[in-house]
């Protein structure tokens, strides 16, 4: 894993994307610090990372598009497959290298509150807990981007797909607020979602019995809960939306509360998508 990590970091040091990504973050952090803290004399530094999540919409695709796709295109994945290292370690090595690239500008930004503090009373706890939340939000999004990159061998396709996923994730709760909140509509949409999941299972396992069983089980649960307590379906989608939107959950941090559940949520997202990434790489061995 160490070899892969070092190799990847070396790769980023000679590649422009890592620098573009770093400069991008620093530029926006600089602008917001100027405007909020220096221009408007606000003492709360947490507004700076709090206003910045949208940079991930562009930043994450730029950083992650090549990580797996390029290996496949250059056929260097053959080397990775033939090395006596497990795919798990390869994926984690690559991921940690990306996290390092992401952490460097954040560490620089972490100096800003200390500088500001010499001129006034800056609440450091909130500032740093927001920075921590910002880091984990980015880490979770990078894991998603990495998984997407493992699906294709074309960098532009990976970047485009990643951008769309980021965008949907960013706007999901506002998009879902357009859906009617009545229990019936929600129930129907959830039914379709269950069907879609069952189809996804079918494409992955190619087993019609398993996917059918899953579909029947899910529909049964949906119907049962709906008949028992239809009120629980009211506004369900909006609730789901705000739960799965990584961006929405970040708000808790800069509103001043250190949200441990969200951190755990981000970490689980990382674990799930890296696991999927490993599976997607392993699957290629079997096709």
């Amino acid at each position: 894993m160490k070899a892969i990590y070092k190799h990847e970091l070396k790769g980023y040091s000679t590649n422009i994307t890592a620098y573009v990504f770093g400069v991008f973050i620093l530029l926006f952090a600089g602008i917001y610090t100027m405007v909020y803290n220096l221009g408007h004399q606000v003492v709360n530094f947490e507004f700076v990372p709090g206003s910045m999540p949208y940079i991930f919409l562009v930043g994450v695709p730029i950083l992650t598009m090549r990580v797996m796709a390029e290996e496949r295109k250059q056929k260097t994945d053959q080397l990775l497959y033939s090395l006596p290292i497990s795919m798990n370690k390869i994926v984690w090595g690559k991921y940690l290298a990306m996290l390092t690239v992401f952490a460097i500008p954040l560490l620089i930004i972490c100096v800003y509150p200390l500088i500001l503090r010499t001129y006034g009373n800056v609440p450091l706890t909130t500032a740093y807990s927001t920075m921590l939340g910002f880091f984990f939000l980015g880490a979770a999004l990078i894991a998603i981007g990495m998984f997407i990159s493992s699906l294709t061998e074309s960098q532009p396709v990976a970047a485009g797909l990643c951008f769309i996923v980021m965008l949907v994730n960013y706007y999901i709760s506002s998009l879902l607020s357009f859906v009617s909140t009545t229990a019936r509509t929600n129930m129907i949409v959830v039914t379709f979602l269950a069907a879609a999941i069952a189809y996804l299972i079918y494409t992955m396992t190619q087993s019609s019995t398993v996917s059918l069983a899953c579909a029947v089980a899910m529909e049964a649960v949906i119907c049962f809960t709906f008949l028992r307590n239809s009120a629980s379906y009211e506004g369900l989608l909006t609730k789901i939306g705000s739960h799965i939107s990584l961006f929405d959950r970040f708000e808790n941090f800069y509103q001043g509360s250190f949200d441990l559940t969200t951190l755990v949520f981000y970490i689980s997202i990382i674990a799930v998508f890296l696991f999927l990434c490993v599976q997607s790489m392993e699957k290629r061995r079997w096709s």
């Binding site: 056929k75 994945d77 497959y81």
Partner: protein, 346 residues
């Protein structure tokens, strides 16, 4: 050293490799020979763990490549069809990375890298970027990579493809050199190459092993007959008449050109020198000069063609029949084809 048993790889309905079994002994150079698309690369990819087989098993030094991949892969150095180089790295950086990834201890890594660069002669280019290297040098860096970690088996997939003749000779010498210390398996669709370098030849066609033996044995086995090429300074009819005076000969081919006749004569007789004598006296008795006479041994090329072509034709027929069956243009067409198929099966 390597055991491959009942290996099968299906791509959809198409079998790239079907029921392939062979054993590789330690300390020899093996050649995988087969026409394009015979399943050589697929087999090598499966042997090195880059691809999973549909069924069957591969054991490297007793370790199953699927069950204990780490241990098995430590015993192999692999050069895929395209050398897996990172374009933005220099060969030196690249080799350092591979050595570390293969778990070579730091103290040994430097020495091994220097050794690998020396035998593949890439010292001169070690600080250039891989993307600026010529195909020949890339291939060598790929081979150097395979040598790291001092693996017992080195697997090279078409190591000389795309090289110029001088480079090909150099790489062949290198492979021979490697064969002294390692077990080497290389694949090629070029016969002379395999013949020049390998001790044992495995001929693969349509994903099946059709022959596995030394080059000499393969030639001897298939050359049960003696073939003679003869040019006589006379017309075709006379030449045929004179040849038929010698017992036990059959004429495969006779061509008259410019008053000269070129004959290809085959026989099952063992006393080949005696045949030549008899032919000579037969022609000289009729005052007809023999312009040239040479014995042609069945070459490995013939063996290869015989082994791979017969099956090709069968398969082609089968395929065309299948295609026709899959997409009948009209009901009539389908009916026309069906009886033929029955005949074939019967």
């Amino acid at each position: 050293m390597i055991e491959v048993r009942n290996l099968t790889k299906l791509y959809g309905d198409h079998a790239a490799v079907s029921d392939l079994s062979f054993t590789i002994e330690k300390g020899q150079i093996y050649g995988f020979l087969g026409p394009n698309g015979a399943g050589k690369s697929t087999t090598m990819n499966i042997m090195t763990g880059c691809l999973a087989a549909t069924s069957g098993e591969v054991k490297i030094g007793g370790y199953d490549i699927v069950e204990e991949p780490q241990k098995a892969k430590k015993l192999i150095g692999y050069l895929p069809e395209l050398p897996p180089l990172y374009p933005d790295q220099t060969p030196k950086e690249y080799l350092e990375f591979v050595a570390e990834a293969k778990g070579v201890p730091r103290s040994k890594a430097k020495e091994q890298i220097a050794h690998a660069m020396q035998v593949t002669q890439i010292d001169d280019v070690q600080n250039r970027l891989c993307k600026n290297l010529s195909k020949g040098y890339r291939q060598r860096v790929g081979i150097a990579q395979a040598l790291l970690g001092d693996p017992e088996v080195i697997i090279l997939d078409e190591p000389t493809v795309g090289l110029d003749p001088k480079q090909i000779i150099e790489i062949r010498d290198l492979i021979r050199e490697l064969g002294k210390e390692h077990t080497v398996i290389l694949s090629s669709h070029i016969l002379s190459e395999v013949q020049a370098v390998c001790e044992t030849i495995l001929i693969i066609n349509k994903g099946k092993l059709v022959a596995c033996d030394t080059a000499e044995n393969l030639e001897n086995f298939f050359s049960g007959r003696f073939e003679l090429k003869l040019t006589a300074d006379c017309g075709k009819d006379k030449a045929l008449e004179l040849v038929s005076a010698v017992e036990g000969l059959s004429v495969d081919d006779a061509d008259e050109n410019d008053g000269k006749t070129v004959l290809t004569v085959t026989t099952q007789r063992e006393d080949t020198d005696q045949i030549c004598r008899e032919l000579f006296f037969s022609f000289s008795g009729a005052q007809t000069p023999i312009l040239s006479m040479s014995a042609a041994k069945a070459s490995l090329e013939d063996v290869f063609m015989k082994l791979t072509q017969g099956e090709d034709e069968d398969a082609a027929e089968q395929e065309s029949a299948e295609e026709a069956q899959d997409q009948p243009v009209s009901a009539e067409d389908a009916q026309v084809i069906a009886p033929e198929e029955y005949k074939e099966e019967a």
